[in-house]
């Protein structure tokens, strides 16, 4: 074939094809494994929730540390986010009651952070407009810290009723996360077709989970579980995409001090893995696993 002089979308379409292929294999394997390993005892919901909180916390730690470093920590309160994310991540490995003050603080600071970020957006010229939503403090990000704290606290859940509540909460958190992804991928002009995946799969997973929360139905629970597994696989593939995304910025990883910040955030997609674990834990609880 004659080499082309013009700029083309080949890099995007090829990487999207590769990524979607990888997702199909990984997600398919995850769903199939679920069937096969049915008789074997699953990890307890508590362990899943702790792992979920730890992954979410680690993602928040990296994200808030980097973003607040980018902001020069000009407000000392900006230190609170990575510090608490670190504490909640470590704390998630211990029994929740001992760590209650830590996780509760994470929830409170995350909620307060929403206010700080809202203020940061509002004070820029133009106020609450699209451009400031794109580039000022990310409006929903502190919610991730609150979610971390709540997931860690939820690891004591042990009844089916707890499971329903957790399913509802996880579904709503997934939708919030989807909204943030939609905003940022819109900012990126959906330049890679695969950028539509994290605004497609998570809402489906959230809807199936929400259905279980509102009307527990063992018949469709398998589908809900499969969707959670697919979403977790998407978190893995998404991380790969973001690593590739940084590499194709000017200067690539060699210029990481710019591109790790201006490029796609490498730690972000893993939050979907955390939410998927939480969703599965919720379904486990509803099925009676303590």
């Amino acid at each position: 074939m004659r080499p082309s002089a013009r700029n083309t979308r080949n890099r995007d379409t090829r990487s999207a094809a590769l990524g979607i292929g990888a997702l199909a294999i990984l997600g398919g394997a995850a769903i199939l494994m679920q069937r096969r390993t049915q008789p074997k005892p699953r990890p307890k919901p508590r362990r899943k929730l702790r792992r979920s909180a730890a992954i979410m916390g680690a993602s928040m730690l990296v994200d808030s540390a980097m973003e607040h470093f980018r902001g020069g920590f000009h407000n000392k309160a900006m230190l609170a986010a990575p510090v608490l994310a670190a504490a909640s991540t470590l704390g998630a490995t211990a029994r929740a009651p001992h760590m209650l003050p830590v996780h509760a603080t994470s929830v409170a600071v995350g909620a307060a952070g929403l206010g700080f970020h809202g203020y940061n957006i509002a004070k820029r010229p133009g106020g609450f407009n699209w451009d400031n939503l794109f580039y000022a403090a990310p409006i929903g990000a502190p919610g991730g810290l609150a979610v971390t704290g709540l997931l860690a606290l939820a690891s004591d859940a042990h009844t089916a009723r707890h499971g329903r509540m957790l399913a509802g909460f996880t579904a709503l958190a997934t939708l919030a996360e989807t909204a943030e992804v939609a905003l940022l991928h819109f900012r990126g002009a959906w330049h890679n077709p695969a950028m539509y995946l994290p605004v497609t799969i998570p809402p489906i997973a959230a809807a199936l989970l929400l259905e279980q929360a509102l009307h527990p139905n063992p018949k469709t629970r398998g589908a809900a579980r499969g969707a959670q597994r697919l979403m977790a696989a998407m978190g893995v593939v998404g991380t790969g995409f973001h690593i590739y995304g940084v590499s194709r910025q000017m200067g690539g990883w060699h210029n990481w001090r710019q591109n790790a910040f201006d490029g796609p955030p490498v730690s972000a997609p893993s939050s979907f893995i955390a939410l998927a674990l939480s969703g599965k834990a919720a379904l486990d609880l509803m099925e009676g696993a303590p």
Binding site: R70, G71, H74, M250, H254, N255, R257, Q258, F261
Partner: protein, 209 residues
């Protein structure tokens, strides 16, 4: 009269980033030549040369620079190479002729003010004379139709600043970021700088509210 120069970014040197991603190969090559290839005088005559050096010194006093930028040498080189700006004002001869004519006019003007030449005037008298040139308060017979202000601003001043602020010394002095490719900048907000930019500057009171 003119206040002493206070450097707002002491210690900032864009050349410290030579090996960093802020520099690419072609920029290193260009700057290496700029820093090392200083040609001996080829265009100006020895007599003109004294005046041109004095002129550069008055326009861009560099007595505080440990490594002064060889301004006169670069002007000489540009004229020797016939570097052009794309514009020739109808009331101006070619840059080479304009410089020769203008330097002769400055010398004649200095002589009318009682010195051997521009280089031999006291610094204050040099400053005053250049201000007069800029204001057109000069004897027209020395200038032979060359517009004094256009010569002074569009050739002398424009060329001197074009050399000085294209040099790492001039760029570092004002806190400019310097070469930036492949790495550009991340922090775009006021009062925020990346770690590969000059740290916050410090200005004397007269420039600060």
């Amino acid at each position: 009269m003119s206040p002493r120069f206070h450097a707002p970014y002491p210690g900032w040197d864009i050349l410290d980033k030579w090996e960093s991603p802020s520099f690419n190969d072609i920029t290193r090559a260009v700057l290496r030549r700029r820093l090392t290839e200083v040609h001996a005088r080829r265009f100006f005559t020895p007599a003109e040369w004294l005046a041109v050096q004095a002129l550069c010194d008055v326009v861009m006093p560099q007595n505080d620079n440990p490594r002064p930028v060889p301004l006169a040498d670069w002007i000489d080189a540009a004229l020797h190479e016939g570097r052009s700006s794309g514009t020739r004002h109808a009331d101006m001869p070619s840059p080479r002729d304009a410089w020769r004519q203008g330097i002769a006019a400055l010398e004649a003007e200095a002589q009318a003010r009682g010195a051997d030449g521009f280089a031999n005037l006291e610094r204050d008298a040099q400053n005053a004379m250049l201000r007069d040139v800029d204001d057109g308060k000069v004897s027209t017979e020395h200038w032979h139709g060359l517009p004094p202000q256009r010569f002074f601003r569009n050739l002398v001043l424009a060329e001197i600043v074009a050399v000085y602020y294209a040099h790492p010394t001039g760029q570092s002095e004002i806190g400019y970021g310097g070469p930036a490719s492949p790495r550009g900048y991340v922090r775009m907000q006021p009062n925020r700088a990346d770690s590969w930019e000059a740290p916050p500057g410090d200005w004397p009171d007269e420039d600060t509210p």
